[in-house]
Symmetry: C2
Subunit: 111 residues, 2 copies
DNA sequence: CGTATATATGAGCATATGTTCATATATTGT
DNA sequence: ACAATATATGAACATATGCTCATATATACG
């Protein structure tokens, strides 16, 4: 019975007016999470860092597709990478956004 | 210093594989929150129920635009409405998704 | 019943989005 | 320097998205 409670009122109520910039940032953040491919990539990165090819093979996606999406996520600073030779290991870089994703996934599956 | 803590680990870690349906539901949910107009509408509905025209006038949007977006949000069960004569009063209908929105807004503004 | 008001709907249009293909760049090993 | 491997990039394309305009529906009121 406390299952529902713990995700409520974690924050003070939102404000009346949203300025342009806030609106842009918030919408961009959610846009990043609104595509199945990006969700799969971010969900995979929850398990730790992975190279571009690993991601592509694991999720059965084209190398170009993964690279494009990673650039998208990198621009929003949702992921970062570490270089090891010619291989780039990507990992998550925004725990807050990852938390939003986890909440949504949990809500979608556990209900 | 506990500012960052309270939004972390509200849930057990996400699972390894996401099925088609979960992927669809989650992406649709975030898509709903990825548009500035819909964000403004939902943010306004945080303050209680409002009619279509009230929303349009308050947010300076066309009546048709608001109606279309409300249909979109209604299909996803994020909003509901109550009829009073020829006026329809819309209000929020998914506290979990509203909570995701509030978190994102708070994060965008307080940082 | 006719008019006014509130909301919904569909077509059309411009723009955004995501994937694929081909190719470029970069790093490693020989 | 050359070949192999890993990743990035840009153009092209099909589809999705969001707004506007015109019009339809629905309710209330005289």
């Amino acid at each position: 019975m406390s299952e529902e409670k713990k995700e409520e009122n974690s924050f003070t109520d939102s404000q009346q007016h949203l300025d342009e910039e806030t609106l842009f940032v918030v919408s961009q953040t959610f846009k990043a999470l609104s595509d199945p491919t990006r969700i799969r990539i971010l969900n995979l990165l929850c398990t730790g860092e992975h190279s571009v090819n690993e991601i592509a093979e694991t999720l059965n996606l084209g190398q170009s597709t993964v690279s494009h999406q990673l650039r998208f996520l990198k621009n929003l600073r949702l992921v970062k990478y570490r270089r090891a030779g010619s291989t780039l290991f990507y990992s998550e870089d925004d725990h807050h956004v990852m938390n939003l994703l986890k909440q949504a996934i949990n809500h979608a599956t556990h209900h």
